[in-house]
Amino acid sequence: MSDEKKFRWVGTRPIRPDGVDKVTGRAQYGADFALPDMLWGRVLRSPHAHARILSIETGAAAALEGVHAVMTGQDLPDLFAEKAAAAGGHDDSNNLAHNVMARDKALYHGHAVAAVAATSREIAERALELIDVEYEVLPHVLDIHAALAPGAPLVHPDRVAQGIENSGPSNIAKRLQIGHGDPEEGFAEADEIIEREFSTRPVHQGYIEPHACLAQTTQDGRVTLWSSSQGHFMVRDYTAKLLDIDLSLVRVIPAEIGGGFGGKTTVYLEPIAVSLSRKSGRSVKMVMSREEVFRASGPTLGTRIKIKVGVTREGVLTAGEATLHYEGGAFGGSSVGAGCMTIFAPYAFPHVRSTGYDIMVNKPKGAAYRAPGAPMAAFALETVMDELAQRLEIDPVDFRLRNAAKEGTLASFGPRYRRIGCVETLEAVRDHPHYSAPLGPNQGRGVALGFWFNAGLQSSAGVNLNPDGTVTVLSGNPDIGGSRASLAIMTAEELGIEYEHVDVMVADTHAVGYTDVTGGSRVTFATGMAIIEAVRDVMGQLCQRAAAVWEVDAERVSWHEGEARLDGGFEPAPLGLAELAKNAGKTGGPISARAALTARGVGMGFGAHICDVEVDPETGRIDVIRYTAVQDAGRAIHPSYVEGQMQGGAVQGIGWALNEEYVFDDEGRVQNPGFLDYRIPVASDVPMIDTVIVEVPNPAHPYGVRGVGEVPIVPPIPAVVNAVHAATGIRFCDLPLSPARVLARLDEARSPGSA
């Protein structure tokens, strides 16, 4: 892949194929489907953070006029008991099954305990009130300290930690350690060592569309689901597994998805909707309220990170060591592994070790959130990097450049890096006019670097050539942020045809091959690869057809700029796509191809952000006044949607740094399950987000694509926090930097007698 190559479509900004439907209200999201016989399903949720379910009396609810089905956890098959016991209680499906609906214990405030289906939402709500659950309230644990305290109540009294030899039951689901070299040796070589402790609070992905689905079942066991998710194959596989149904009997039709950010890579409602539909013989629609979204779906939970970094006087890193505790919620399964793997990843550390603990607490089961685990780790490392640069009196970007990972660097997570754009990204920050722009009073500037792996995984695609020369592409990935456009661009580029002649459809589970979730920043990379493979197959078929028409060897025909040409001559005249398509029936039949692959050669991603803040000394309010995001995209297929990922991730990270947090009361109840009290950034909170796309092509992808969706949420927290330090001289190690917290620290610093 040469950089010189000129593209016709790659790198341009055409209108997305699904755009008009989405600006006219025609596009159908998860809650937009209806069937004539449809019932409404609603879920009863635990009012307690931790309670044994002694009995559930459903008779009165079932007797209510308009109620057609009532269910509890007893109605879901407990397929996994045996398997889970064998796996020490850690089997993922078992956790998933028990999260979808509690069996003997409710493990968090919001845990589903029963559900009903009725002819209207109101009747279903009334029926929930008639369900009588007898609870024995148990003592709960809400955070890492409490969970690890001696004699702490155990979320799962039968579980022992993975990765700790001979330990008894505890709230530690798992311990892991990674690294290389000997940190003690590295710290002995250091001239400066900084050791700090950081904490973050639970935050929600905050997608605007609540979880929603519609289930239809038949007497012969078939299931059709309309569902909004990051992967309809994921919905199919999880639902089928939890309910013990053959995959071929479950068809999932992907709705448009109104945001996910990792939070829609699992199921909550679908197995319940299917069960209610089976019980009632009617189709069942379920839509979470916003309160349910906050109480029962996806947050990423609290973390505590202790970190120690050593450096020589010349600014060369000698060692890093970190202990990371991540709350995984009621079932464990936090992203602490990725936290351990990413925390030291952007730099060359000769000696490095991170130890992670996955902690169970009585909070919702954590779900993936954009570069899961990495933003909290970056908060710790990049704040310390800032402080080290300050101590050494080296420019913070130069300091990072001195230590930046490059091709061949032994990564802190094990292997050696392939071609990466860490240095190029930092150089673009250093050279950006924002980095040297003057600042006013009470203002400060911070920078931070972030890393994410990106994912490959499995993708399938189909390409059908229509008789008029237009092309229909089938993808197995829900389009969460413009991927139809990037897939259409690559198709048009390969074939040498008009972008407008390509349409991309997100096909259902019966219509396209298995495809992993829209997650891990993988769609343009991996599904793009599958589509390119299928398109190249179509191009081969087109050349064969032309060869047949010309009665020459197929090897002599090649595809250029939308037409088949005979090598080495101008005769006969080239055959264009439209003509070959029109005559396909006469030359061998319709032309179409499929491809299915596990994508290899993922390009790892780096981003660096520059943030300016102004801190109001009277109120402690922090305003982000200028922001620039720089990122290596490998190659931006549709730059607008790459920028969009960078801008959206930056603002999510700003919210995480400044405002967002779950508030729990002493009983473990969520106190702010709504957008009024859980405040995400609004338009007036943020400035324009400038972007610089760096392109260090990924050699393993036909167009050089790396993933782009997750990296942008990694740098913002430390970028903001470092900027606040520059403005105030105060280092914040605990999120969020809400005005009250900031004001308290400002007052403390101003009080006489303070250093």
Binding site: S335, G337, Y369, G414, P415, R418, V602
Partner: protein, 81 residues
């Protein structure tokens, strides 16, 4: 012989060697060879960890080729958002 680097915790439980030279061919063969040397280790690794071969991470490898000069690391599996 491929160079295999084991996670410290696992090495501690199996023989203590962090770096070892193993005949590979592909991931399955490599795991079998590892297991022959340290009985039980194959089961610990197979299907539970990701494998990095020469810097590229594979989440669920089996027949992935391992070259003579390859460097192989075992890593925790990742989720994406």
């Amino acid at each position: 012989m491929a160079r295999v680097i084991l996670p410290q915790a696992l090495a501690d439980r199996f023989g203590g060697e962090v770096q070892l030279e193993i005949e590979g061919g592909n991931v399955r063969a490599l795991l079998a060879a590892l297991d022959a040397r340290y009985p039980g280790i194959g089961q610990e690794l197979e299907g539970r960890v990701a494998v990095a071969i020469d810097g590229e991470i594979h989440n669920d490898p089996l027949l992935e080729p391992v070259e003579e000069q390859s460097e192989v690391h075992f890593l925790p599996r990742l989720a994406g958002g």
